[in-house]
Symmetry: C2
Subunit: 465 residues, 2 copies
């Protein structure tokens, strides 16, 4: 029996206890958005800290201006020094508010095991996001600790308490503790699987530039009869410019927008095609039938690997009932650009300004507000970490892991990249129907079990067993 | 001394009394929008009725579902029968609310005579709109009555009390009394002069089609990260379509939009050019510098004789502070088309629907609401009525009257046209700085005097003196 097999056997033999630790942690209502739960947040942090300390970690609960951060270090196998990789595990102990309470079938902080189509599942706020997923790797650490007395890799742990409120104090904490947080790769379980039988690694995340443009014309609202035909109408001008954001093929017309955008590899294209993603059903669920976006690109490619430009809001003039014959003094819009790896967010910001300036009349005064400009991120699929994770998942599930993209951005991944220079291994075990952030959040026990075992395998593949 | 000169001399000799009647009428706070002033509205109507009765008119105050209408008839010179024209004088005795009261320099219903750059002026709510302008023709009637014992034309008078609240009950009144209101031409003094020395006749009015378009896409708001690149964005689609409303030369792209639109005559073009309209100053006053509208057209032509398309309102998605990464379920806009004579409003309605349908993706559901569709109106400048009015004004002012257009529409003119088949002679004496609808409304006494004399001259030119 190999070392890893021995550890997996131990995990199976002690699974009930792992499940119990997960459930105990869920009982603490660590809602970061509600000041009344500040003590619960600290209790949840201390729960994790105590667990890590019991596994040989040098663990502490560190204060911030907000909820505390759990930091823990394990030196890895005796004397291994720089020979084993240094992994930084990131997770969060805080949870979303549980409202509306009346929609829950059982109290959100009294976890229950209920039968479902995939076996038992646990219902509770935080069941999956992120206490459930963190509990998997904590129990994987325990299995290694109980079977070997140490960890096979050097490990640093960061568990924050403000992920659900924007990580306002977490990012400064990371910056202030850069030296202490050095590592080779970040490991994060806060994403999902392709389906209950198919594991996934998220290897690309779209970034985002979010801008507001305000177009100002006359110094006051005007009567459209008196001034129509002479005075600049800012809504006409704004729609004229924004209406050209994409060409007939769905390509974004911002100058230089596609600079650095690479086509996906044929291997990636084939893998995504093989997933049999049903875009008709995806769109049918929201009442649509015809795909939007760039022509000549696959559905998942458009969602995960191509940049977009969506106007998220527009306003100007009169929007009440009936009529008002007004030429407004100004109009505005909010635009989100989802970026893919290779695009320079600052170039997109400047490009959008140029795009607008080139399309509005001389009298139109444009004002821009940049609310965010983060790049798309890519984890090289040929890195030893991704390869090890892929192998661990393939062995656990008996089928290869899907390398997925993620249409949205995960801010902490950008923080790891920008502040610590770390790529992130996004190995998550949630399912689409887990009701994250909604009433009746749940996590499948089978997902928890495979996730725990996959984490144990990953440590074995990367470290010195 | 001609009969008209004799009457003008009488007007000058009795001018103080005419001014006093005007001022007395202004003391009645006939605010049609405020139910508390219903009795004042009736008192203002009775004031006019009594005045007309004293001039040999068969005058009455007629009830409607709202404020009453004054109707009066004069048969004209004895035995003239159909030999003299039948003029229908329209005006309104109601006034706008006076708020905000604190901005008035003197109480709005206590008229005061104050020195200004053009001599004395009267400050009061209704000073010009429309009691002042109606008082001019009432005093012109009095001069004819006192000097000849009759009127030189057949005359019908209609003075309504709901012009400032949309004439809701006036139009049904006109329709119900069509037979009684037969005439040859409507005479209305509710417009302005070109400047204090230059009289004007408004001979064309733009009409209007006002529509709302709602564009619906998904059955709920979507996350732009999850769905961007696959789901139709209704704001993108709406701006894409509406952004094409005008081409680079400012021509409206609605199919068939210019069908029936005639170029102005060279005489008209020359006359308007001779006015030396300073569009730079017109735009400078509102903070703009570059004319909008159709290229290659004169400034007044664009304002008075060319149709427009102005988006009066647009909305969709998130417009609050900061960001929301949403793809909205729907978006909408309100569009006003100012029409010129010759355009068919129904064709414009259908054309706009076609325009939109042709430019939105298959999944976009469009809903249209038509809030109004009225044609542009033109009073033939070679009619004997316009010619007589032009001659009367030229003699009074010593310079020709300008034939102006009016960028807005005046609903009562359309009612006269549609319900009674009457063209309207729009001979008004207001100035741009009269503060109509604003605090400190005023009317220049010199405008009142010339207006009164011009009305007396017009009656002489059209009737049998």
């Amino acid at each position: 029996m190999s070392k890893v097999d021995q550890i997996l056997a131990h995990i199976d033999a002690t699974f009930d206890a792992a499940q119990q630790r997960w459930i105990d942690w869920l009982r603490i209502p660590s809602i970061s958005a509600q000041p009344a739960h500040a003590a619960d947040c600290r209790a949840a942090a201390e729960y994790a800290c105590k667990e890590l300390a019991s596994l040989g970690f040098d663990a502490s609960v560190r204060d911030t201006a907000g909820h505390p951060v759990v930091v823990a270090h394990h030196p890895g196998p005796d004397g291994a020094g720089g020979e084993v990789p240094h992994l930084l595990y990131y997770g969060h102990y805080d949870v979303q508010p549980a409202d509306p309470l009346e929609l829950w079938h059982s109290p959100p902080f009294e976890p229950v095991l209920v039968d479902g189509p995939h076996g038992k599942r646990v219902y509770a706020r935080g069941a999956v996001d992120d206490k459930g997923q963190v509990s998997m790797w904590l129990s994987a650490f325990r299995a290694w600790h109980e079977q070997t007395g140490t960890m096979p890799c050097r490990i640093t742990v960061l568990i924050e308490g403000e992920e659900e409120t924007g990580s306002v104090n977490f990012k400064p904490f990371v910056i202030a503790n850069r030296a202490e947080l050095r590592a080779d790769i970040a490991v994060i379980s806060d994403t999902g699987m392709w389906d209950v039988n198919t594991p996934a690694l998220s290897t690309s995340l779209r970034g985002m530039v979010y801008m507001q443009v305000d177009l100002k014309a006359a110094n006051r609202d005007l009567h459209s009869g008196m001034y129509g035909g002479s005075a600049l109408n800012p809504i006409n001008a704004l729609t004229h410019a924004l209406g050209q954001l994409k060409d007939a093929d769905g390509r974004v017309q911002v100058p230089g927008y596609y600079d650095g955008v690479r086509d996906i590899s044929s291997r990636q294209a084939n893998q995504w095609a093989a997933l049999g993603f049903d875009e008709s059903r995806f769109l049918g669920d929201i009442g649509l039938s015809v795909p939007s976006g760039e022509k000549g690109r696959g559905a998942l490619e458009r969602l995960w690997a191509r940049p977009t430009a969506d106007i998220c809001g527009i306003w100007g003039g009169y929007s009440g009932p009936g009529t008002k014959t007004v030429i407004a003094a100004e109009a505005g819009a909010k635009v989100s650009f989802r970026l893919v790896p290779g695009q320079d967010p600052q170039k997109v910001v400047e490009g959008f300004k140029q795009f607008m300036q080139a399309r509005v009349p001389a009298d139109a005064r444009l004002e821009f507000t940049v609310f965010g400009a983060g790049p798309g991120l890519e984890i090289p699929t040929d890195s030893k970490f991704v390869q090890a994770a892929a192998a661990a998942l393939a062995e656990e599930y008996g089928r290869p892991a899907v390398m997925t993209g993620c249409g949205g951005s995960i801010p902490v991944v950008e923080t790891m990249q920008r502040e610590l220079g770390l790529d992130a291994l996004l190995m998550g075990f949630g399912l689409d129907d887990d009701q994250v952030h909604s009433p009746n959040e749940k996590f499948e026990v089978i997902c928890f079990r495979h996730g725990l075992r996959s984490h144990a395998r990953l440590l074995g593949k990367l470290g010195r067993a």
